[in-house]
Symmetry: C2
């Protein structure tokens, strides 16, 4: 595969895996319902994305910095909503709230 | 930052952002409840991870292939559960099921 095509593939892949979190942010913001979202997932994922951002800064890679800075903002906002809305008494009953 | 430290940072970051999906798979498998999970997110994210896998294969990068192959399996299983369990009549009522 030629270099340009390869670079385009990486850019499109990066855009998809970054933009993908936007619908979840909107969905959670609208419904304020977070029971089905895993707190552990977003804690670990947000931490991992932060590390990728540090990695990108360390090697001076603009694309890694940009992709992970945007993903960090989106993932972190889902994490915050999970914590904030996860505390509110939900109509599903407190008993059904996993860690 | 020395090269070894940098490589270690990349490995740890990759492990976090890959392993992060495991708690969501377990949580969704146990609860069979997917209302709060965005179908658009997991469709776009799974597609993006697939592209990263193709990218990794194209440049022959073992770490990109490994990380994205594992993430693809995890993200795809959440996507399948969202589709399968999203259809089942849920006690939250059909009216509250977003796209």
């Amino acid at each position: 595969m030629e270099l340009d095509m390869l670079e385009m593939l990486g850019v499109v892949a990066g855009c998809c895996t970054t933009a993908a979190f936007m619908p979840q942010v909107i969905h959670t913001w609208r419904t304020k319902s977070v029971y089905d979202i895993s707190l552990r997932m977003y804690s670990l994922f947000t931490f991992g994305v932060f590390l990728w951002l540090v990695y990108g800064i360390s090697i001076g890679s603009f694309s890694i910095i940009l992709a992970n800075a945007v993903t960090l903002v989106l993932a972190f906002s889902i994490l915050v909503m999970k914590i904030v809305y996860g505390r509110a008494p939900s109509e599903k009953g407190p008993g059904r709230r996993p860690k």
